[in-house]
Amino acid sequence: MSSQSKSAGSSVNQQLVYAHGLAAVVMLFVSITFGIIASTELLWPDLGGGSPWLSWGRLRYDHTQGILFGWLGNAFLAFLYHAVPVLTGRSVTSARLGQWLFGLWNFVIVVPGWMLVLAGFSQPLEWAEFPLVIDAFVVLALLLMAVQFLPPFFARGIEDLYVSSWYIIGGLIFTLFAYPMGNFVPELVPGARGAAFSGLWIHDAVGLFVTPLALAIIYFVIPAASRRPIYSHFLSMLGFWLLFFLYPLNGTHHYVFSVIPMSAQIGAITASALLGVDVILVVANLLLSLRGSGWFPRDLPLRFVSTATVFYLLVSIQGSVQAQMSVNQAVHFSDWVIGHSHLAMLGFATFAAAGGIGHAWQRIPWARYNHRAMDWSYWLLFAGLAAMFINLTIAGVVEARLWQSNAPWLDSVRAVRPFWIGRTHSSLLIVAGFIAFFMGLTTGPKGAGLAAVEETVGLDAIDEISPRLSASHEVHGAAS
């Protein structure tokens, strides 16, 4: 294809990597702006002056939809345009389709979705707040993504696939199944019955879209950037299948102690505990693969993904624990859960996405790259996330205790104010971290990404490598 860069010695469409990478960061800024205004409104509720467009509920919808579609969606697409050709040795289906998909994703889904929500057209369903018209385009986009990225894998026969490929295939296909369940079914099936489906999607959005693609990045970047194969291909695959078996069975844990039949609740709670065990397996495999790279590798994309791995472990174990009835009855509905979701989306998913974008970006020969800014970004985000997580977790415990006592409701609102102040301030660090990330991608000399790779991991890592092959010790030579 004409638009592809030859210099990386691959069929990677660098323009699309670049476009989605930049779009991801721009969308990210908009999304966190929604979040920051919403969090500030909990401190000064009259900040929005009563304007419906700045009303807390609508900003809250746009914050999470923006993170899901605008930031993570674009970041995953950027990564896929890099990784799929590398993994398969084939280019994606069509560059033209890529341009359409870019336009569809950003200018038909995310931007209009935001506007419609602010104008008062939305659904009150978690992770499904964009209105139904937008949902129809999301399904279309998911279909087009399947057309764009899946054929290269199947051209080769599935038995040869590296684990990242499995996660990509699984993520794209299962999201296509799960999405309508969360977005359409509750509109047709009322009340408690609809909630059962909604619960499934709340978990599937994270479990079948975000997690597989984030893990695809992690499994890809670790061997590619560290030049060491994955510890065990067998464990990788075991982890993969267990994840896909267990994730969908978790959904009902969002409605523990509800009228939904107890056996379904207990099933979901059990699956949640097993999921924690499986994640330990996955993460052990990943951390063993990272042996020798240190906790804070010099290569920043690698550092981002290795930290994402640790966050993944923490958030999953937390999830398994808080699904258990004794914990759930206390912390459910509280800020504890908001802390959990930030550990998942801002910790695990965002660190993986940042690593994925960074890794692909370094390998665009004409892109700018600023190692120092990236380094700052890492530490600022790390500190910001830690501050936010700690504040929200304490707030959740305070709320839980007051709700279980007979204190007036409002006491719980008053008591968490200091932690809400802390949370809002933590966003300063996070914004600074993302500004640094943006600078990491847009300042510095052109081609500095490759130079940084050379300096941190060594020159041979610049060559296109297939992690699958590195796992089976058939490392490509420089001539590939």
């Binding site: 609508r58 102690f257 709700w403």
Partner: protein, 414 residues
């Protein structure tokens, strides 16, 4: 680790696993979506009262507003099968109660309280002022203001605000209307005698346990002298928004309330009266109940409220004036306020807001005359003055004012 390409058997297993993967997803939908759905549908069928009300057009519009504003992200509509939830909010939510919820609004976060049992908890004027400017009635609230649903003041709600309040009045309504008969029907058909958790739905102390919900009767605890400084603090945080910092009914929330908050500087109250007011609220008015406050806190509040009263010199009254007052009272006031002034006249059952009890509390003379001249907005207490509809002459007016003030029964403990 040196792994070679997976052996053939393993490769085949991928195919099997792929099929199994799709199977597992389907299974999750069946096990956690479709099957529970069928159980819930069956429960709805057998446990629902025969003619649940459903939603009117206005209530449905209100529901859409609730949806678009993200109310469900601060308020759940689902009382869990847990004692902590039952004590705060009331009976756990049954499947049939959600049968008209397209889509459900259960929510997964509580910044504000659960609203599954909101109907009847507050009157419309409270809701309007609360939506217009939440902090003008609940000083420490973090709820957003929805002033765009009004024409510049809480007294002028647009259709949106009316619809929203209409919708809130449906939350828990069907269960309330089904009454004890409905509960018995549901319980008999629940087929869950052995299931401890399902049984909880029928054993809540109250269907609606909202501590702010007013009630007409209820046994208040005896309040004693409490800590004045604690009372002052509680008053500033919870009461001043309506009653004003000095109790002069000039708080920011006062303007939109009908009846307006009582001017506490102009009223003397016995402890037992304050106990009733703080425990039961004043039904039909925006004055909430405060059952979530401990007895000690309610005592502290009562003590502080009594300090807000500014006593005025009491003139001694000529007997003939009191006689005139008694006559006027008997003819015009007793059917509502009761022959002894206990607020228990024959017409009481027809009144939305109960008439004042003159034996347990007393307004100043100025306040009494003001009420007689102007009536009380939002209640059936009409104006009686000569200039309004000429029902009572100026002399009769002041005579009856003196008379009602003489009805106070001072308790030795006070």
């Amino acid at each position: 680790m040196n792994e070679q390409r997976p052996p053939r058997a393993l490769r085949m297993s991928y195919l099997v696993a792929s099929i199994a993967g799709v199977g597992f997803f389907a299974m999750s939908v069946l096990l956690l979506g479709v099957w529970p759905g069928q159980v819930l549908e069956e429960q709805t069928r057998v446990m629902s009262p025969e003619h649940p009300l459903g939603l009117s057009a206005s209530e449905r519009r209100g529901r859409e507003i609730y949806s678009r504003e993200g109310c469900a992200y601060c308020h759940t509509q689902q009382v869990r099968y847990l004692h902590s939830d039952m004590e705060r909010f009331g009976a756990p939510t049954l499947a049939w109660e959600t049968r008209f919820d397209y889509p459900h609004l259960w929510g997964t976060r509580r910044i504000g309280p659960d609203l599954a049992r909101e109907s009847g908890s507050h009157p419309a004027d409270w809701h309007f002022v609360h939506f217009y400017a939440p902090r003008s009635v609940v000083a420490d609230s973090v709820m957003p203001a929805y002033s765009a649903m009004f024409d510049g003041s809480p007294d002028r709600p647009k259709q949106d605000a009316r619809d929203l309040v209409a919708y809130l009045e449906t939350l828990g309504r069907d269960r309330e209307l089904a009454g004890s008969e409905g509960e018995a029907h549901a319980r008999a058909n629940c087929n869950c005698d052995k299931d401890e958790m399902s049984q909880m739905a029928f054993h809540a102390p109250e269907l609606n346990a909202n501590p702010h919900k007013t009630r007409r009767t209820g046994s208040p605890p005896a309040l004693v002298t409490g800590s004045e400084s604690r009372g002052k603090d509680l008053y500033a945080r919870n009461c001043a928004s309506c009653h004003g910092p000095q109790g002069r009914a000039d708080g920011p929330g006062a303007a939109g309330l009908h009846p307006p908050p009582t001017n506490l500087a102009e009223h003397y109250y016995r402890y037992d009266r304050l106990s009733i007011v703080l425990t039961n609220g004043i039904a039909g008015t925006a004055m909430p109940a405060w059952r979530d406050f401990s007895i000690a806190d309610r005592s502290a509040l009562a003590t502080f409220v009594r300090t807000l009263y500014v006593p005025q010199p009491e003139p001694t009254l000529p007997q003939n004036l009191l006689d005139l007052g008694a006559r006027v009272y008997k003819e015009n006031c007793a059917q509502c306020h009761g022959s002894t002034g206990a607020g228990d006249g024959t017409a009481v059952s027809e009144l939305r807001i109960a008439p004042s009890n003159f034996r347990t509390g007393r307004p100043t003379l100025g306040e009494t005359l003001r009420v007689l001249r102007n009536g009380i907005d939002g209640t059936q207490m009409a104006p009686w003055g000569a200039d309004t509809n000429g029902r009572l002459s100026e002399a009769e007016l002041s005579a009856v004012a003196y008379y009602v003030r003489s009805l106070l029964v001072v308790q030795s403990s006070d």
